[in-house]
């Protein structure tokens, strides 16, 4: 967060205006960040086999995307791949892991369990319905479990987000989360807005209007008029 301003203040401020240097630094830093993600060895369930082990092995080869340095220690990692179901006992631990991670940190939720609870969403008394209730998630990769190729698509989406998104002038401001499997011109935001407007139309009750239609409404109105004129 703000590496250029904290570590290299002289270089940035020496230029009058400073805009050119800062913009170029942004791009360089974001490019470097996006191509050197260090994932955390954190897997709770089946997705871990596909997301962290199969992709890390030779056949799929995560190293092509510069993200093969899987770290066992949280403090050395900056990418958390939530691979598997998160239950209530695990939730505080996962929040702790997230807060220990090096900044800027990114989260990919892979598999239905991490996105929404998946097959355990209904009737399970322990599951957390979506890992984004605990940590902010940047990219969702749906599937049960997703193929390694799907995970790569999610990783590339995250890399694109890092390259385009964050600037050192506005640290911490990040693009909206995107779902990796959606078409390019549809965002999660659009879907959520549509659902919201439909729900609002169905569920909004105009209390005053509803009260006017009641049989006792006329009597109440007459009583209010009488008392106010008195």
């Amino acid at each position: 967060m703000g590496v250029a301003l904290e570590k290299l203040p002289g270089i940035v401020e020496r230029f009058p205006g400073g805009s050119v240097a800062v913009t170029q630094l942004d791009q360089a830093i974001n490019l470097a960040r996006s191509n050197s993600l260090w994932p955390l060895m954190f897997g709770t369930k089946c997705c871990a086999i596909e997301m962290l082990m199969a992709t890390g092995a030779a056949h799929h080869d995560l190293a092509r995307f510069g993200a093969e340095v899987a770290r066992a220690s949280v403090r050395q990692a900056d990418l958390m791949v939530i691979a598997g179901a998160i239950v209530k006992k695990m939730a505080p631990r996962m929040r702790l892991l997230y807060e220990q991670m090096a900044e800027p940190r990114y989260v990919i939720a892979t598999g239905s369990c991490a996105i929404s609870g998946g097959p355990f969403m209904y009737n399970s008394y322990t599951i957390v319905r979506g890992a984004d209730e605990i940590v902010p998630v940047d990219v969702y990769v749906p599937g049960c479990p997703p193929r390694p190729e799907a995970f790569f698509w999610g990783l590339m989406t995250l890399q694109k987000m890092i390259r385009e998104g964050e600037t050192i002038r506005e640290p911490g401001i990040r693009r909206k989360p995107v779902m990796a499997a959606l078409p390019e011109d549809v965002s999660m935001h659009d879907i959520r807005r549509e659902i919201c407007s439909a729900l609002i139309e169905d569920n909004v009750v105009d209390v005053a209007k509803a009260a006017d239609e009641k049989p006792w409404a006329r009597k109440v109105r007459e009583w209010i008029q009488k008392s106010s004129s008195r």
């Binding site: 089946c46 092995a57 030779a58 056949h59 239950v87 009737n123 479990p145």
Partner: protein, 387 residues
């Protein structure tokens, strides 16, 4: 025989037994739930004296999803996908356990083709599971190359699964009364091509890891458990067989077409970590032998004897069925009321749960690094423990 029950508190604060002249302070170390050795999220509390492990307490429950309770609202066909997500490395054998229990309770007959394909698929899955375990054990003990080799074979077997089943991990293949899909036309040819290749791979494993002096030193005579103790703890699978007990459900129950093929039950001599390693490596060869005998003449027939929309209502009472997964006996215990298509209560007897408690007995007295080797040789799958 009197049974002494000790609580967790008493274990944690028991007085240290001085085994050396140098007195050290005892302390507790949490391993997990986030730890690379846990292969998931298992928390292990170690009571340490210096580097010596005094006592080990596994604390499961970090992936407990309440599957058994959920199954009370599901039909028997709907339960099968959930068994994939328990021990995901032997999904097909888990499917088979449910299918077998339902078939036995309802008296459903299957044909020879179904049973043969089920057996072949199970053995392929066992190969895949053991290949992964071999790679991960190598990685735990410091040989990262092993991981790459183990996954090479896993991907090749996975391609065969993908062609027929359409899934890489969560198979959902074996249904009560049959299979989900028929095998692809070139399935037999591909598997036949695979067998000599995998024989070569296992020989390569021996040269890569088994012959390594450092690797042998880290496993030999470490974590020794005798057969009686293994039986008392309820161990099954390669762990029990490594301790010298020739108990293999494939041989004793002879479900599927295991009674028509020749294979050896591999048994260890000492019961140490090395035996547990070697039993699994030999089991891979035996699995290849079983597939070799079956693949040439898969009988003709229908791949499902039951229509998928038929409602399955088990007769009232208790039903139990079990299969031998890559980790041991996976049992399904169903209590049906005879009226609804759901179980009244359901319990999964998962092999990893019993195998986990082995560490409380055999890890004491060893160093922390040896504890890693012991836990790695147990081949635990954490979602199978917690369910």
């Amino acid at each position: 025989m009197s049974v002494q029950i000790r609580t967790l508190e008493e274990h944690l604060h028991a007085s240290p037994q001085a085994d050396s002249e140098l007195t050290t302070q005892e302390y507790l170390v949490n391993m997990g739930p986030q730890h690379p050795i846990a292969h998931g999220s298992l928390r292990v509390v170690l009571r340490l004296d210096g580097e010596n492990v005094k006592f080990v307490i596994p604390v499961p429950g970090y992936v407990h999803r309440g599957v058994e309770k959920m199954c009370e609202h599901l039909t028997y066909r709907q339960i099968i996908p959930y068994t994939d997500r328990l021990d995901y490395l032997s999904a097909i054998m888990n499917n088979w356990a449910v299918a077998k229990t339902v078939e036995k309770a309802l008296g459903i007959e299957t044909n020879a083709r179904i049973e043969t394909i089920r057996t072949i698929m199970s053995e392929l899955q066992r190969l895949q599971s053991h290949a992964l375990w071999w790679g991960v054990t190598g990685m735990d003990l410091g040989a990262y190359t092993a991981f790459l080799y183990g996954f090479r074979e896993r991907e090749i077997i996975g391609e065969i699964f993908e062609e027929t089943i359409g899934a890489r991990l969560t198979m959902n293949y074996i249904q009560p009364g049959g299979l989900m899909y028929d095998i692809q036309p070139d399935f037999a040819a591909k598997v036949k091509k695979l067998i000599p290749y995998l024989h070569g791979c296992i020989a390569q494993y021996e040269t890569l890891l088994s012959g390594n002096t450092i690797f042998q030193e880290r496993l030999r005579n470490i974590g020794v458990m005798d057969g009686a103790e293994a039986l008392a703890l309820g161990c099954t699978g390669p762990i029990l067989r490594a301790s010298g007990v020739p108990l293999d459900l494939r041989a004793t129950e002879a479900y599927g077409v295991y009674d028509q093929v020749n294979f050896n039950v591999v048994v260890g001599a000492v019961g140490d970590s090395w035996d547990r390693y070697y039993v699994r490596l030999h089991e891979m060869r035996e699995s290849l032998r079983i597939i070799e005998q079956l693949i040439d003449n898969v009988p003709e027939g229908d791949y499902a004897t039951l229509r998928y929309n038929e409602e399955l209502i088990l007769p009232e009472g208790l039903h139990y069925g079990q299969t031998e997964t890559a980790r041991g006996a996976f049992g399904v215990f169903i209590d049906s009321d005879g009226k609804r298509p759901h179980p009244r209560r359901l319990h999964f007897r998962s092999p990893s749960f019993n195998n986990m408690w082995v560490v409380t007995r055999i890890a004491a007295g060893w160093r922390i690094a040896d504890f890693i080797a012991i836990q790695s040789s147990l081949d635990l799958v954490i979602p199978d423990i917690d369910r």
